[in-house]
Subunit: 251 residues, 2 copies
């Protein structure tokens, strides 16, 4: 079962990177062979695994200097690192013919080595995210249960539908999940209801609760399971990973 | 005293928009004439004032179709609205000669009408944010007290220094402030210390505490003072505004 998934939401700070790190680590611990790709110029995924300056990054590969260069960060877990220089990529690549297919071309030759390839997207819907949407079959959207978070959904759905029509027929939003959740807050419960009405059974049952350990783990260069296996964050991501694996049987 | 300020941080979800809305509203209530400019394709500032589809937006102005078109949203408070279509602007404008000066040219003729012009930037360091940095004299950086937030500081400082050298001699980071703060969390206190070592007396004394009312106010199309004048969020932004006004005497 080969799955290629983009984790995307142009709303900032909703837990995209935190989710890619911990979903990736959780799948690897379940025996899946996993590749994570850091497609954000902030390089937060790269930093979360304690990597300071990678020799070969997604930037060099996108510019055509070399193939994708996965680095092993744990059992069954590789990552393709990013760099702050990636912020120049969107303008540099925008005049390249077939510029939306650059990432897909890079991923193609290595899909056989992994069960899951997961891409961490930047908080925008520019050329980098469009490259991710062209290269994958599934999009997961993490959502903070806040009013401003909901208002942006229409735009991301519009962009995904456009790419599905023109560039990638198999692209689908296959899952939406709530992050930074606090069930004591009425706003959170209300927005969760709205999300369920919008997306129906594509909303994961598991909600990722607010848990400071998730914000501490990156400073130790760890995923949440290595950092503190018994905290709420580890429990929530463990359950989310279980739901992701259960989706395989549904297809 | 004419001040033109960009509120920027390429890290997503740190409270840029929430701060521009409530600093703007607080300054207007103190009798200052204020213009807020929504430079984010998510149009969160526009949505926070309850504006659904504005007739004339920053996008049309940047493309040269018309002048800036401020809309009055309260006493002493105008805004220039954004639109989801702005996400195409960076690629569309990237080949224009002097593309970094487009916003400055638009703001120039109306600076006389306001005491404060404040720009809400998107979570990136692309052409829109570079336009903001070229047009302003001050940059305020809101920071969530998390590990990943600190790692991105070097990049924003690098970009600001480059623009100061090449495009805008008077550009300065004049203030940094902490948002979503919870003094009970060790991580928050530790990161606050790091921020103070980095920025010294440019760090505002006021920290914006986490307060759900701040996330609720946008759904009512209100700033925090109209929504719930006695909550922590209103207290904190009232104090922050006071510190901003006190800076005027220092110059
Ligand atoms: N469930 C959680 N509980 C507490 N803190 C969290 C949680 N999830 C993420 N965080 C923290 O909140 C901040 C935002 O999360 P993260 O960086 O993963 O979001 P993002 O969507 O990737 O942001 P960006 O839009 O900047 O890429 C980070 O500092 C992270 O450590
Ligand atoms: N002090 C606070 N307490 C509680 N919620 C807050 C606070 N400040 C902001 N929020 C909420 O957190 C979310 C992120 O804030 P906001 O959208 O202002 O950040 P931003 O930096 O503008 O995000 P982006 O990078 O997407 O532009 C919003 O849903 C907002 O309502
Ligand atoms: Mg991220
Ligand atoms: Mg914003």
């Amino acid at each position: 079962m080969k799955r290629i998934i983009a984790v995307s939401n142009h709303k900032g700070g909703v837990g995209k990177t935190t989710s890619v790190v911990n979903i990736g680590a959780g799948l690897a611990r379940s025996g899946k062979r996993v590749l994570l790709i850091d497609l954000d110029p902030q390089a937060n995924l790269t930093i979360s695994f304690g990597i300071q300056e990678a020799e070969k990054t997604i930037y060099g590969s996108l510019k055509g200097e070399y193939e994708l260069f996965p680095m092993n960060v744990g059992e069954n877990l590789d990552i393709v690192a990013s760099t702050l220089d990636l912020s120049g990529a969107e303008t540099e690549l925008s005049s390249e013919a077939g510029r939306e297919y650059i990432l897909q071309e890079l991923i193609e030759p290595i899909t056989g080595n992994y069960d899951y390839i997961i891409i961490d997207c930047p908080p925008s819907l520019g050329l980098l995210t469009i490259n991710a949407f062209t290269a994958v079959e599934e999009v997961f959207i993490p959502l903070q249960p806040h009013y401003l978070a909901i208002k942006g959904l229409a735009k991301i759905i519009e962009v995904i539908n456009k790419i599905k029509r023109r560039l990638n027929k198999s692209l689908e939003i296959t899952a939406v999940f709530v992050t930074l959740y606090d069930k004591r807050k009425i706003l959170h419960r209300d927005v969760l209801q709205t999300i369920k009405t919008y997306f129906g059974d594509r909303v994961f049952y598991t909600k990722i609760r607010e848990n400071i350990a998730l914000a501490e783990a990156p400073s130790a260069g760890n995923d949440i399971f290595s950092y503190d296996a018994s905290c709420n964050g580890a429990d929530d991501y463990r359950r989310l990973v279980k739901e992701i694996i259960e989706m395989e049987d549904k297809d």
